[in-house]
């Protein structure tokens, strides 16, 4: 893009002079013609008129002349291109190395850019996405159904609005769950987005009524996968979590919903939530914050105008939607919240998680491309030396320097376009492969990384920019030498200059510094991943199976639910191969329960401690192997009605009861539901610290409570943890069998704790792997470059070395001489690279774990590796130079 601009500016500039000259030429003509006519006796006015008549319309003349110019430009361009291709074909090795370097560099950039494009830049697949607004309040974008209904009925800024929430449906009736990605969406969902059905119809507000006939709309992918694209799908029935829904239509292929990197299988009207979660619908829960709201701005309304109006509307909406038992003193604060809006660019965890890392990777690949450029520039420079005669001859027969530079640049552009074409092919395969690397539970994000106009533009822009970067300096240099001088001399004048400052040496230094930077980056990210995965988690991840049963299809009473889940746990514990089993509300890295508790201090005052909670069954610590350091585990005697008890982790113990043994002490907690009522909790034990929801954060203060004493009004089933030995599939089948015995309607989902932990590090793993790969690529490119430079200099200095050898120098001395030159460059490049690394690593400080941006071990390791590679790259060609036979070499001279 930038190069394009320069080209255009230049041609524009050149064109303007040419236009001015043409005007001048025509004016000159008119003047002379008028003078002639005046001399012949015409009056000045008459003469001017006749002169103008004689020449005809000047604008038409100019137009014809301009046509000639364009012709000329095209002809020269096609000449240049043909000539370039001929020249490049004459040196296939050079061309292959240059194109390969550029293909790797441009391919790496295009791959990362196509993902960045899909994650961050592509607009939502809906009509006029620029008019869609995403609603926030205090940085959060979830709302209760009551707020949504208030907003929907009282707003006057959106032509229509929608609310939606992702959910999981179960396609199986009991047994192992067959999950389907579901969406609850308000009736105006499709209307607001402007998405119409591919087959059948989409649902409307008329379908979104409580007690109405349940309908479902399928995604294109689900329709293809599960129904083979049946054209008569409308009217068929699908069972979702045990309830029949009539399928009314299928959405177009391009529509993946509103979550970037995700897709859906089935969308049903929001009202259906009321009977799927019949026991406790979130629709009615005024403290269930679960809906995302999107609105389409009325035509002509700007975002600031809409925001101002929303701020006015907000208090009334919040007040009307507040929980009925909210204490009056809280209501004022609650109603003070303001709803804000931002352009809806697609909701995406993927973007939050990978946006930053992708930008860092983009920077890394840009550096790889820069190294490739330096490589090609070095090659071109060496070639320019060899082509000195050709260039001198062309200048001697009258080619202008500008014209020659243009010719040489055309060669660069042809090279870089060839590289870009190969690079784009590489990216075609690499882009999707990288996306597969960020899959979770075997499911890759649904990302459309196919090249669009932005990707093509990016690749073309990268190609042009690189062509200028690597081509311009060598072209300027090649055409600078006086023609007669270089015709006389042999070709070696150009690069023979040793010591001091020369372009070639600067390039080598740059290459060393850049590759060191990339090796350091790889080291830091790999070190981060290593530190994260080898840290002490506080539990043992291996050999733990996680089972999530869903009892909803059984439609149990609360008492029956409690009984069934305890029954299932007891039966699971009896399974062969199961060493221990327990239930817990929260498994590591999946979510959090957190609120404040109050501790009475010895001085009589109280302090609030923010704690993380986990309701667990007896045996949890034994199952996940978190040590119970003091006190007792929960037991069957800890029930809903028995006194409240808790086990603290060490951090919570330290924060709540500094300096004393917490066992036997108590703190105050409050129920969350209905009336806020305080109660006392007695600490009965202390467990070791364990990571809770983040692999990076230190274990937070954590309070474990017996499952029956958790504050939720409905029975909590939680996730079952099974420590097993032997075959996992045997255990899974065993669990399926006992669940079937308890109730065949129970559906089950299985995960492994180790996989869940590994999934928490996807982002770090991706960055570490790609950074390492690009670091290696940089080393390969740089060593090829160094090899080339030393080999070239060796061939240039053949005569000198031969004389030295003939005069009695040892081969070791010649070798040393050859390497000394390289060593100087490496010793300049290394500190530059270290400085750059320190500066750049600071930018990614937040992505690192367990090491500082200036980690001495990483810096030393990277420097060592680079020294080794540089030495090897220089040693091989230097040794060959030292082995030459002086007699043969001197005879050639």
């Amino acid at each position: 893009m930038f190069t394009n601009l320069i080209f255009r500016l230049r041609s524009l500039f050149g064109r303007r002079t040419a236009e001015a000259e043409l005007d001048e030429e025509l004016a000159f003509h008119l003047e002379h013609e008028t003078a002639k006519l005046t001399r012949a006796g015409a009056s000045p006015d008459e003469a001017r008129r006749r002169a103008r008549l004689a020449i005809g319309g000047t604008s038409q003349i100019k137009e014809e002349v301009r046509d000639e110019w364009i012709w000329r430009w095209c002809r020269e361009l096609s000449q240049d291109i043909r000539y370039s291709i001929r020249v490049l074909r004459q040196s296939p090795t050079f061309t292959a190395v240059a194109v390969l370097s550029l293909a790797l560099g441009i391919g790496a950039n295009t791959s990362i850019f196509s993902i960045l494009n899909a994650v961050i830049m592509k607009p939502l697949p809906v009509r006029d996405p620029g008019q869609l607004a995403h609603l926030f309040h205090a940085g959060d974008d979830s709302y209760t159904n009551a707020i949504w209904e208030q907003l929907r009925d009282h707003q006057d800024i959106f032509s229509s609005a929608l609310a939606y929430a992702p959910t999981d449906f179960d396609l199986a009736d009991g047994g192992e769950r067959r999950p389907a990605k579901g969406v609850y969406a308000s009736g105006d969902y499709f209307h607001t987005l402007g998405v119409s059905a591919l087959v059948g119809r989409v649902f409307t507000v008329n379908d979104d009524r409580r007690g109405g006939a349940p309908v479902a709309v399928l995604s294109y992918g689900f329709w293809q996968r599960s129904y083979g694209g049946d054209p008569h799908i409308a009217g068929r029935t699908i069972r979702l979590t045990g309830h029949p829904f009539e399928i009314v239509g299928v959405t177009p292929r391009s529509f993946f919903g509103l979550d970037i990197g995700n897709t859906f299988d089935v969308i049903v009207p929001l009202a259906n939530e009321a009977f799927i979660d019949a026991e406790r619908p979130m629709l009615d829960g005024r403290s269930n914050w679960w809906l995302t709201i999107i609105g389409r701005l009325k035509p002509g309304l700007s975002f600031p105008q809409a925001a101002a109006r929303l701020a006015v509307l907000s208090p009334a909406i919040f007040r009307a939607a507040a929980d009925t038992d909210m204490p009056p003193e809280n209501l004022g604060e609650f109603a003070k919240q303001k709803i804000e809006l931002t352009p809806a660019a697609g909701m995406s965890n993927l973007r939050d998680q990978f946006g930053g890392p992708l930008l860092v990777l983009m920077g890394i690949t840009a550096l790889v491309l820069l190294i490739a450029c330096v490589n090609v520039a070095n090659l071109l420079l060496a070639r320019a030396g060899a082509r000195q005669r050709e260039i001198a001859i062309r200048m001697a027969v009258g080619a202008g320097r500008g014209r020659l530079i243009r010719q040489l640049l055309t060669e660069s552009v042809v090279l870089s376009l060839a590289g870009a074409a190969c690079g784009a092919l590489l990216a075609q395969g690499a882009g999707p492969a990288i996306v597969r690397m960020i899959s979770w539970q075997g499911q890759a994000p649904i990302l459309d990384v196919s090249p669009d106009i932005r990707v093509l533009g990016f690749t073309a822009g990268a190609a042009m920019l690189t062509a200028i970067l690597f081509g311009l300096a060598p072209a300027m240099k090649a055409t600078r030498l006086a023609t007669s001088e270089s015709l006389k001399q042999s070709a070696r004048a150009l690069t023979e200059r040793r010591g001091g400052f020369s372009l070639g040496r600067v390039l080598v230094v740059a290459q060393i510094a850049l590759s060191l930077l990339l090796v350091v980056a790889a080291g830091l990210f790999a070190g981060t991943l290593r530190n994260l995965s080898h840290q002490h988690l506080g539990f043992d991840t291996e050999g733990v199976l996680l089972v999530e049963p869903d009892l909803r299809p059984a439609h149990y009473s609360p008492e029956r639910t409690v009984f069934a889940s305890d029954d299932l746990l007891a039966r699971v514990r009896e399974l062969p191969g199961v060493a221990a089993a327990a239930r817990a509300a929260v498994t590591p890295m999946t979510g959090s329960w957190q609120w404040d508790v109050k501790v009475d201090k010895t001085d009589g005052s109280r302090k609030d401690v923010h704690a993380y909670f986990n309701p667990i069954s007896p045996g949890y610590f034994e199952t996940v192997r978190t040590p119970l350091v003091r006190g007792r585990d929960f037991g069957p005697a800890d029930t809903k009605t028995s006194p409240h008890v808790a086990i603290l982790n060490e951090t919570a113990a330290r924060e709540m009861f500094p300096g004393i043994d917490p066992v036997g002490k108590s703190y105050r907690d409050a129920t969350m539901d209905r009336v806020r009522k305080e109660f006392t909790v007695e600490v009965v034990g202390v467990a070791g610290d364990a990571k809770y929801k983040s692999m990076r954060d230190a274990p937070p203060p954590t309070i474990y409570m017996p499952i029956p004493q958790n504050p939720m009004p409905m029975p909590l089933i939680g996730t079952y943890e099974l420590r097993f030995a032997g075959s996992p599939s045997a255990v899974i089948n065993g669990v399926k069998d006992v669940a079937h015995v308890v109730d065949p309607r129970i559906s089950l989902e299985f995960h492994f704790l180790s996989a869940q932990i590994a999934a928490a590090l996807i982002q770090e793993r991706l960055v570490a792997m790609l950074a390492t790969f690009f670091g290696l690529l940089a080393l390969v490119l740089a060593s090829a470059g160094l090899y080339g430079v030393v080999a070239y200099s060796a061939s240039r200095r053949r005569g000198e070395m031969a004389i030295r050898l003939a005069l009695g120098s040892t081969r070791g001395h010649v070798l040393q001489l050859m390497l000394r030159d390289l060593a100087v460059l490496v010793l300049i490049g290394l500190p530059l690279g270290l400085g750059a690394s320190l500066a750049c690593a600071r930018l990614v400080r937040s992505m690192l774990f367990g090491l500082t941006p200036g980690d001495p071990l990483t810096l030393a390791g990277a420097s060592g590796l680079l020294l080794l590679v540089a030495f090897l790259a220089g040693y091989l060609p230097a040794r060959r130079a030292a082995r030459l036979d002086p007699v043969v070499a001197l005879r050639e001279e």
Binding site: E25, F28, H32, K36, A54, Q60, I61, E68
Partner: protein, 105 residues
């Protein structure tokens, strides 16, 4: 008399064979020498000049005219000389052939 297609380039080259000239002088010279028999459309002269330049037959350079004004002069290149010779020969052959045909038929 109007010029047959493609002859203007030849006339320009022939005129410039006598020495570098600017546009107006070229058109004057063509008319004088042909004793006003050939009317060069002044408007078509300039595109033709730029066409000859593109083909590399003539080369522009800025000079000073008789009345001390900056003017764009054109001069014949080596390629232009060659082209002139070839075109001249072609024209003569053609003219002779057509003349013979008209005489004898």
């Amino acid at each position: 008399m109007d010029l047959p297609q493609g002859t203007l380039d030849l006339l320009i080259l022939k005129t410039l064979a006598l020495g570098p000239q600017h546009g107006w002088a070229i058109s004057e010279r063509i008319q004088q020498i042909s004793q006003e028999a050939l009317q060069v459309q002044q408007g078509s002269l300039y595109p033709a000049l730029h066409r000859c330049e593109r083909k590399g037959w003539i080369k522009p350079k800025w000079g000073v005219s008789d009345n001390n004004r900056r003017a764009k002069y054109y001069e014949l290149t080596r390629a232009g000389e060659k082209q002139l010779k070839a075109d001249e020969a072609d024209w003569r052959k053609l003219a002779t052939a057509v003349g013979m045909l008209l005489d004898q038929a």
